[in-house]
C-alpha cells in the first residue's frame, strides 16, 4: 500500500489528537454496495444524505468527518458584522445518522489505497468502498504569502474555514484600538467563494462604522478585478466612504509579506503596522485529494457528467477541490454537484434512473443592513467540463426594497440549503 500522506499529516497533526475517534464501521453484510464519503460539508453532507435517501437503504453510506459540528463558511461574514449569532452557523450530523441511516464516523481520512479501494483513518483501520466521494474543501498553500503559515494563524487568522478562526477574527476586530487598521491579504484566483473576501470587508466595515468609526480597512489584492466589484465598490462608497482602501496588483497588492510577530504588513516593500491582519492565502484541493494522488496541480480534474475523477472512475470529487470548469467554488455549487453525483451513484447500484447532469449556483452577499446583492448562473455538462449557460447579477442603483428583498432571500436560502445538507 502506498499511502502518500506525509505532507498531509503535517498540516493536520495539531488537531489529530482530539479527533481520533474509535472506528465504527458497520459490520459488512456483503450484499450492500458501500459508498464512503470523506468530508461532511456542503458537498459531502449533501451527497451522503441524497445517496442514503434515494437508495432507500440499498446502499451502505459511511460519512467520514472529523468535526462533530460543521460551522458554515457561508454567513460567517454576517457573524463578523453582527448580523448572525455564531451558534446559528453550527450544524450537527445527528439527523443524517438517525433519519437517513448514514454511518457517521468522526475521524480524519489520512490516505486512500485506490487499488485495494480502502480509506485509511487517522484513528486506525481501513474503510472499504465500492465508490468513494471526496469533498474535503480547500487547504492553504504553504508559503503563498511570505511570512505566513498555519503556524501563525492564531495571530493572523485566515477565518476561511469557519469555526474558532472566525471567532478569533471577530475578537481581534473587537479589540482594535480606536482608529486602528484592519488589513486583509486577499487571495489569488481560483479560491473558495469569489465574493467572500469583499463581503467580509463590508461586514467588518459595518462593525467598525458602529463601534470604531475612525478605523480603516486596507486590502492588499493580487487580482486586477474581483467578483461583483462594481456592486461592492458602489456599496462601499454609499455606506463606508473613506474607510476602505484597496491596493491592486498595479500598486503592489500582489507583492506582500507579513511579520506575525511584529504585526506588520509590507506591500511592495512599504512596511505598515496593522492591528488585525486577515491573511487569506492561495488555496488548493483538500489534502486527502493530494494524498490519494487524484490531483493535477492544485486541483482534482473531474468529469462534468457525474463528477467522477478523470484519474479514477470509482472516486467522485465534489465542491471546492474539484477542477470542474466554470462553476465558482461555493457552497451552493458543491451542493448542486453533490446531487448530480448522488444520482449517478445511486443509478449505478440500483435500478433507479440516471438523469442528465444540470447545475446551478446563486451567491448572495450582504454589503450593509438590508443591502443584499446576488449573482447566479445555470450550468450544464460538456466533455470539456461544466459550462455556464447564462445567468444574472444584481445591478447598481436598485431600490432599497429590492436590496432588502435580496437579503431576505439569502436568509431563506441559508435555511433551505442547510436543511438540504443535514436533513
Amino acid at each position: 500500500m502506498n499511502f502518500n500522506r506525509r505532507a498531509f499529516l503535517s498540516t493536520t497533526a495539531a488537531v489529530g489528537a482530539t479527533l481520533a475517534a474509535p472506528m465504527i464501521v458497520r459490520a459488512q453484510d456483503g450484499a450492500r454496495p458501500r459508498v464512503v464519503v470523506v468530508g461532511g460539508g456542503a458537498g459531502g453532507a449533501t451527497a451522503a444524505r441524497y445517496i442514503a435517501r434515494d437508495s432507500e437503504g440499498a446502499i451502505d453510506v459511511t460519512l467520514i468527518e472529523p468535526s462533530r459540528a460543521y460551522y458554515t463558511c457561508f454567513f460567517s461574514n454576517l457573524y463578523l458584522g453582527g448580523f448572525r449569532e455564531f451558534d446559528s452557523l453550527g450544524h450537527t450530523y445527528g439527523n443524517l445518522a438517525s433519519s437517513y441511516g448514514v454511518n457517521v464516523v468522526h475521524d480524519w481520512a489520512t490516505g486512500v489505497d485506490r487499488d485495494a479501494k480502502t480509506v485509511r483513518l487517522a484513528g486506525g483501520g481501513d474503510v472499504p468502498y465500492d465508490r468513494l466521494v471526496l469533498s474535503p474543501g480547500i487547504d492553504f498553500k504553504n508559503g503563498a504569502v511570505p511570512g505566513w503559515s498555519t503556524a501563525v494563524q492564531n495571530r493572523m487568522p485566515h477565518a476561511y474555514k469557519a469555526g474558532s478562526q472566525t471567532q478569533l477574527l471577530r475578537a481581534q476586530i473587537e479589540a482594535m484600538p480606536e482608529g486602528g487598521t484592519f488589513a486583509m491579504v486577499a487571495p489569488p484566483n481560483p479560491y473558495r467563494c469569489p465574493p467572500g473576501p469583499y463581503e467580509r470587508v463590508s461586514m467588518v466595515a459595518h462593525y467598525l462604522k458602529e463601534n470604531n468609526p475612525t478605523a480603516r480597512i486596507l486590502i492588499a489584492d493580487p487580482k486586477e478585478t474581483f467578483s461583483k466589484q462594481a456592486l461592492f465598490e458602489d456599496g462601499w462608497l454609499r455606506h463606508y466612504e473613506g474607510m476602505i482602501e484597496r491596493v491592486g496588483p498595479d500598486f503592489g497588492g500582489g507583492n506582500v509579506e507579513v511579520d506575525a510577530e511584529a504585526m506588520t504588513l509590507s506591500i511592495d516593500g512599504d512596511v505598515q503596522n496593522v492591528d488585525v491582519c486577515n491573511v487569506i492565502p492561495a488555496m488548493q484541493a483538500g489534502g486527502i485529494v493530494h494524498a490519494a494522488a487524484l490531483n493535477e496541480g492544485d486541483w482534482a480534474p473531474v468529469s462534468a457528467y457525474d463528477l467522477s475523477s478523470r484519474l479514477d472512475e470509482s472516486v467522485h470529487i465534489l465542491g471546492d477541490s474539484a477542477a470542474q470548469g466554470d462553476m465558482p467554488k461555493s457552497g451552493f455549487a458543491a451542493n448542486s454537484q453533490a446531487k448530480v453525483a448522488a444520482n449517478a451513484i445511486v443509478a449505478a447500484f440500483t435500478d433507479s434512473r440516471q438523469f442528465p447532469a444540470r447545475f446551478s449556483n446563486t451567491c448572495w452577499s450582504l454589503i450593509d443592513t438590508d443591502d443584499g446583492i446576488k449573482v447566479g448562473a445555470n450550468y450544464e455538462a460538456s466533455d470539456e467540463g461544466i459550462v455556464s449557460t447564462g445567468g444574472f447579477v444584481s445591478e447598481v442603483g436598485e431600490t432599497d426594497e429590492v436590496r432588502a428583498e435580496t437579503y431576505r432571500e439569502s436568509i431563506g436560502w441559508y435555511d433551505a440549503i442547510t436543511e438540504d445538507m443535514f436533513g
Binding site: K339, R358, N378, D415, D420
Partner: protein, 235 residues
C-alpha cells in the same frame, strides 16, 4: 387620487364569526393601496383583461363568493368556503389579508399578511376602485381559463421520478415545509405551480433567480416538477 369606498353590496356570512365589523373609513387612500398592491401583483391581476396567474384574478372581489373564479384551481379550504356560500365582505377580506393562513388555514396563498389596519383599508379601497364589486364583474363576462401556454403544460403527464431529480435544484432554496423568506412550493396545486413557472419563464413575472431557473425548464420538466411537488406535503 383618493378613491371612495363603495359600500359593500351584500355583506354575507363571515367565514369566522368572531370578527368585529369595523366600518371602513370613507377617506381610504387608494394611492397607498396601489403601492401595497405591488406585493399582490406578483401573483394576482386586477382590472380590465385580468386573468388568473398564481392566484385568481381579483375583479369584482367584494361581494364575490369565496373561491369561485372560473378556471382557477383553488385549495380545498377556499373551494369549501365558497360552496358554503361564504362571500368576500370587506371585513372578511381585511381579516384574510391580515393573516391569510391564520384566517383560512389551508389556503395555498403564500403571503405574510398586512398588519396595519389602515393599510388594509387602503388596499381594499384600491381593489374596489380597480376591479369593482361583484355585480360589475358579472357583466364583464366569465374568465377565459388557462392560457394556451399553460394548457400545453397541463396536457403533459408529469414524470414523477424525473420531477424528483429536478426538484433537488429547487430544494437549495425552497424548504420542504415552511419558509418565511422564500415561499414554500410543496403541495401546490399543479395549475398554480405551472402558472407560476410559466409566468417566470415568459418573464411576465419578474424575479432574477426564478427567471433563470425557469428559463431552462421545458414543458416536460415543468410538468414533471408539478407532479412531484403536488405530492409533497407541507406538514
Amino acid at each position: 387620487m383618493t378613491g371612495k369606498v363603495i359600500p359593500s353590496c351584500k355583506v354575507a356570512a363571515l367565514v369566522a364569526g368572531t370578527l368585529s365589523l369595523t366600518p371602513f373609513s370613507a377617506s381610504a387612500d387608494a394611492e397607498n393601496g396601489e403601492r401595497l398592491f405591488r406585493a399582490c401583483a406578483a401573483c394576482h391581476q386586477i382590472g380590465e383583461g385580468a386573468i388568473n396567474r398564481i392566484g385568481p384574478q381579483l375583479n369584482g372581489l367584494v361581494g364575490r363568493l369565496i373561491g369561485t373564479v372560473d378556471g382557477y384551481d383553488y385549495s380545498d379550504t377556499l373551494s369549501e368556503a365558497g360552496a358554503d356560500g361564504d362571500v368576500w365582505s370587506e371585513a372578511a377580506l381585511s381579516a384574510f389579508l391580515e393573516d391569510p393562513r391564520g384566517y383560512l388555514p389551508g389556503t395555498s396563498m403564500v403571503f405574510r399578511g398586512i398588519r396595519d389596519e389602515t393599510d388594509r383599508t387602503d388596499l381594499i379601497s384600491y381593489l374596489i376602485q380597480e376591479g369593482g364589486t361583484s355585480e360589475a364583474a358579472a357583466e364583464a363576462g366569465p374568465e377565459s381559463g388557462p392560457s394556451p401556454e399553460i394548457a400545453a403544460i397541463l396536457a403533459v403527464e408529469g414524470d414523477v421520478a424525473y420531477g424528483e431529480y429536478l426538484s433537488s435544484e429547487c430544494t437549495a432554496c425552497h424548504r420542504g415545509a415552511g419558509g418565511e423568506d422564500i415561499p414554500s412550493i410543496a403541495g401546490l396545486a399543479p395549475s398554480v405551480f405551472i402558472a407560476g413557472l410559466s409566468a417566470y419563464r415568459t418573464g411576465e413575472r419578474e424575479h432574477p433567480v426564478m427567471n433563470m431557473v425557469a428559463s431552462r425548464l421545458g414543458d416536460e420538466e415543468i410538468a414533471a416538477l408539478a407532479a412531484y411537488f403536488e405530492a409533497q406535503t407541507t406538514e
